[in-house]
Symmetry: C2
Subunit: 241 residues, 2 copies
């Protein structure tokens, strides 16, 4: 592992990249201990603060963890699904909020991905998944619910639908698509009428899933997608006036 001291890039960025490459390429394996900060400073011919900045970059991506004390140090971290979820959601949220992505585009992506889960979820969903969905539907019918709480419940409902596919990789990918859209969804004001419409579609989805009818789930999701987009268009139109 070498760095170029004459490069225009920051030394800490170069060091971080070198270590990152080593991890991705499997030269450093999970739970392996990196040399101590002082040793690395020697190796790379830089100071300890520079090495530390590099390590903090890696820690921010959950690639390493550090431990203090006698047998401490920096260790290659096993990237867990929850860690990956969290990063994925932050990235997706910012990507959508900072890049003038239209609601339609985001919505289309979300429902396209979600519909990909429908056949698998129909096959494999457990009673648990179904119970979660029913519970969320019930919550969505509470009268005093704020728009935000309604959206939270909506996310939880769709989460259960996705998790029903019993494929952690799929759940991980979808986490970004579904939760990243929440800030956009929160801009919509849900009237009593639109809530009822959504609840009835959710119920239709849950019913179809209970009967394990993939095609019906897919159709209803499509309907829900179109309804959501029409709601968003109404909000935009009102805001334009």
């Amino acid at each position: 592992m070498k760095i170029d001291p004459n490069s225009s890039a920051d030394l800490s960025a170069q060091i971080a990249q070198a270590i990152r490459d080593a991890i991705v390429d499997g030269k450093l394996i999970v739970d392996e201990r990196l040399p101590s900060e002082a040793e690395m400073a020697d190796q790379f011919n830089v100071s300890r603060p520079t090495v530390r900045e590099a390590l903090k970059r890696l820690a921010a991506q959950s690639l390493i963890r550090t431990q203090r004390g006698a047998t401490g140090g920096a260790f290659v971290n096993r990237l867990s699904f929850p860690d990956a979820y969290a990063q994925q959601i932050t990235t997706s949220t910012l990507l959508l909020s900072m890049n003038a992505v239209s609601f339609d585009t985001a919505c289309e992506a979300r429902y396209a991905l979600e519909r990909a889960c429908a056949p698998l979820s129909s096959q494999r969903r457990t009673a648990d998944h179904l119970a979660t969905m029913r519970a969320e539907i019930h919550r969505q019918q509470q009268p005093g619910l704020t728009d935000e709480a309604f959206c939270d419940s909506d996310v939880a409902f769709h989460r259960a639908l996705v998790d029903g596919a019993q494929n952690p990789v799929l759940s991980y990918q979808l986490a970004g698509a579904v939760e990243g859209m929440q800030p956009l969804m929160n801009m919509i004001t849900f009237t009593a009428r639109s809530r009822n419409q959504i609840v009835s579609l959710h119920t239709a989805i849950a019913d179809a899933l209970e009967r394990r009818e993939a095609a019906a789930v897919d159709d209803t999701l499509k309907e829900l997608s179109e309804y959501t987009q029409s709601l968003a268009r109404d909000v935009m139109a009102k805001r334009a006036r």
Copy 2:
């Protein structure tokens, strides 16, 4: 923005989180300049190196960029699609390589998501997308091609298919699913026969896409998914002996 000096967490991690929250919540907007490192050190009552470690954490997630010089400083970065791609791919790759995710699970997720793009891509693909796919098919038929180069071309082919949907959010999400699987795919040895089979399926997909027949694309993708999984099972079986 406040931090708790008595918390067990690192000061730099706390500071990074405080700034990250401010960005996600929209309290800091794109291209806004953060205070200088010295000023932040004062504000948070910590030293400059500690502030710097916090900033490097944020830089690692592409949340900020820094500039040297008189009017320099740290600026909230607009998270670009390419940046988001890169992060997604690193995360997905590591998630798959470190977590004993079965080839079947990853493959299922990948093709489920890809099939979600098929209808959109059938509608919207341009001549360019089709040309890219044809070119990659041609490349896949070169005799001297290494397994790795074959996989690269495979990724490029599927990339074009996904991009054909003309939905950047979908492309971003799929980047992780498709490219993250590459290391797993690279473990497969592609015999001349299996390459021919894959090429013929790719050709069928391109043909169907040319005719804009979504259902045919979907069917062929399903076939390809099953064939890929059967190849992987053969490799596993051979390795077991």
